[in-house]
Assembly symmetry: D2
Homo-oligomer: 323 residues x 4
């Protein structure tokens, strides 16, 4: 992901120049930086941050390394685009929120790229327009062909469903207040011991209900859909476009196999809009508070998965900066 | 519904002849029988049952009148097609089951007409074929334009979702063991006091999970969809066919406004196959046990709606007749 | 087809009783009549027509036998539903038209069953409503899995495209004035010598244009679609509904394999409405004139296929009865 | 279009730098160049070509100015991406072809951007794979909401259908040998005197048939679809993805209003791949020959429109460079 962002900044985002790359694995850092004129490679993130000419930071390191990098960037007053999650856990995320709030201005944007997807934006605009009335429910499907090694049952929520947590909060303009996780029998196609699929249910302060099927070994494709049900209508996104082939008694459409195809444009737009904003002194995307809230909800979800019961979400008070 | 079935039997089912019609409201009974040669009209159902030439009975009376008519038909050894529900409540339904079981042969078929719908049958065949692996989840939507007067929050489950209860039991070949009902804020378009929509969740003995959105004042149309998620694939039915009109910047498709359009063929096929079976001495459709099980699950659902908690379903032992 | 209609009249159309069946192959006639109470079987159509109790006639004999049966029915004042084509050629069809016109009242209906298909009716209603403006073009596809033995290049037009000829005349309310046939290279999957597919182009008196792809060895399914292009919008019918199955990287939908599935309801409705009309003394469906016009256009098409040039359609004057 | 390409080269294509901009309207040239560091603005194209540091040229001037710019670029050995058409007419296009052929190496790429569209590429790959057999027909629709002022009947072919001419040649790997144009009555929504819509028919050397509905005042949206019919199957592209909204009895999808939305990615990819190729010394896209062939076919089409008859296409001999 880091190398991908380096390539994106260097080759397809106007107005950006990659000055420094940091990777504890120096060879990997060198590889990512190959062919970029004038870039310096560091093993240490803080050293890279201190490089002359650094005007903004993109953090795509492992989760546990986010907090230190973010606090350092805040200390230097540097805008940051931080891949989700904001930090290793909700407490760490809250420390980042508090640090930014103390500084009094928004510098951090969290990489919830669905907010930059054309279809999600269309759905958000529709809901905001009021034309289908107040939203009452969201039905979400999030499916992957297969899960990477070492993926745990908790990661279905903390790593995968966290996208839906942010999307739901954003689409509904509402905070999640409780989580319940239902566990059907695991698929025989899932690795032994992995609770896959799960049905994750969110209740919001405004009384909306969100159900998310997360199924990371569905076998057939990458599929992310969302249906919003309002008081006067419904709207569904995520049914992929595709060539329809008719042959041998069937009409066929290929299904995307991974998120790179489905959300490629969203990643590009995210980074492009972030760079354009930074150059004009604006930070407008998902905030550190959004990163913290998603982490807090995900933690409640992981507890709900373990307990088999409804778990209330206990959010800290929202600092004025994020209101 | 009764008059509709009289018309269907008299005019469009081969091999059936309407001999007697019963309705406490005699004028309504006469109206339903108008134009049918040789039919007798009764105010009393039992008198109609006793008419000479009655070889089978179709019960479409109010729920509370089902039990008496069914027991009388069983006593006379008459095959019955009984509109759902089997009886006024699960206890009454169990009495009917026990009476039929004592008789030792199946005479009763319950009017769960979705089992006769082409799309549902296609989905059942697909699941039974094993080609998408074992089913893990069903996602169901059941929406009506608006609810009739006097429709209560409990009736969303006992009257509407009962169709999904039977469909899920049949599709999965599995019993429901627990129900949870989630209550988003009611739609402003629903009558005051009606908990509409609801999200009803069923767990099955085999570990499958079924979620049902029931929304009886959705405003835009009659919509019944079901997506089955298996270990190797998914299948979705209920996206209505329709002419696509492109005009004024939009592609439009009309949505069916009521179940008569959506399930007209299923009702016809149900009655046609029932009559054909009766003439050959077979009763093959949804059984009294299916009627009882649906009633028991629905009652657990109504309690779950009231309590806000997960309610276990406590089924009687299944008589050998239904195994 | 004849046996199919006998079964339909006997078993699923209210108000009809099959009194006599005629088939030169007596055994086949007996087979079709099997199980129908009181029916008489004849080898001779005119003898069947003369049976006591015959109040209406359904003609599904070979094309060359239509004229004699129709003229006999007209002579007796019997309403007739005649399978398309009206007669063996346009001249014979015109003789039937003239005989009916001399009689001064409509007795004949031609079996263009697409007019009874729900989707075609929806398209007709849309065009008549004016909501997409005046129709300018129709794009039609007519595909079969494979052609029966002895199917000739001319029959692609006279037997298959004749459905589109009638549908176009009816949808547009307009006569066809010229035909051009374009011949792409024949498919390797078509029998040797068969010009399959063809692109058949019709011009109408009102200036509309109709293109029809006829491809009777397309290999993958039975597919009939029609897109009407109007001054303010377009409308497309014929994209079949179906369960969507996602598995192994693809979304799949089955395609109907023959017209029995696609137009079963249309055939039923055609016969049902014809019987209901006959009982009330009405004949309202496609007229003998429609049968003649379709024949005349098809003959021009067959000439255009042979000549490779545009052929004008020369219709007789329309008798007052059909205006 | 020129300004759009300047912006694309300057802001979103890696490896490109805009050195010089030419526009006879100096103010417009300055506007296009605004904000680009180190760029020089010229009124004269040849002066811009001669600027120090120019390594490749993108031509987006009016059609009549193409030839001079292309010949100048060829003389300097500069790679060129030239917006379609290649030149003002087929004869001028042939002069360019001959000049490039004399030079002995490909320097010119013509801006047929559909070849860079994901869906068209998918269709091309499918056809090349042979999985639907040899292609027999292409059915194309090309619709615009409304035509710009001064758009003539001939321009429906030379400006709009020229995209389908190139796409058909490329998809089929085949030359067009004859053109016929059918003229339905013009839409009341089209400007007086404009023959809109038209049905344009192409025959190819290999015996395939291509029909194109061109309708530039369809009123409802920008729609480009293509269905390829092969010996064993068909494939359709261009049905736009979109959010499905259900409200007030209808399912709705928005339709794109112009080509900028539909082909934005194709334009980006075209320029990106061209720049990447130029940097590696390759010119791989649509050739000058493709530009000439499209012009020759379009000219035959314009004659066919005027004459109302089939017009054969008379192509020059293809130089070895393009084989």
């Amino acid at each position: 992901m880091g190398a991908d962002h380096v390539r994106r900044l260097a080759r397809s985002v106007a107005g950006a120049r990659v000055v420094a790359v940091a990777d504890p694995d120096r060879a990997r850092g060198e590889a990512a930086a190959a062919g970029i004129e004038g870039v310096r490679v560091h093993a240490d993130a803080l050293a890279a941050l201190a490089e002359h000419g650094v005007g903004a930071v993109l953090v795509a390191s492992p989760d546990h390394a986010h907090e230190e990098a973010l606090l350092a960037a805040l200390a230097r007053g540097l805008p940051v685009l931080c891949e989700k999650p904001l930090a290793a856990d909700a407490r760490a995320a809250l420390r980042v929120v508090e640090a930014e709030a103390r500084g009094g201005r928004r510098l951090i944007q969290v990489g919830f790229m669905r907010r930059y997807d054309t279809e999600y934006r269309g759905l958000k605009a529709l809901l905001d327009s009021g034309s289908i009335g107040r939203p009452l429910m969201l039905h979400c499907r999030h499916r992957n062909v297969s899960s990477p090694p070492h993926f745990t049952s908790a990661m279905l929520i903390s790593s995968s469903v966290s996208h839906e947590i942010d999307a739901a909060r954003w689409l509904l303009g509402d905070e999640v207040t409780a989580v319940t996780v239902l566990r059907p029998r695991p698929s025989a196609a899932a690795p032994a011991g992995l609770q896959d699929p799960q049905l994750v249910l969110f209740e919001t302060a405004g009384g909306a209900l969100v159900d998310v099927e997360i199924f990371v070994n569905c076998g057939f494709g990458y599929e992310v859909t969302c249906e919003a049900v309002g008081e006067r209508g419904s709207a569904r996104i995520g049914d992929e476009p595709a060539m329809v082939v008719r042959t041998a008694g069937r009409a066929l459409q290929d299904i995307a196999q991974d998120y790179v195809v489905r959300f490629a444009d969203a990643y590009d737009r995210e980074v492009r809009e972030w760079v354009a904003g930074v150059r004009e002194g604006r930070v407008a995307g998902p905030s550190a508070w959004d990163g913290y809230a998603a982490a807090a909800v995900a933690e409640a979800g992981v507890r709900a998965l373990a307990d088999g019961a409804r778990v209330a979400v206990d959010l800290a008070e929202r600092p004025a900066l994020y209101r």
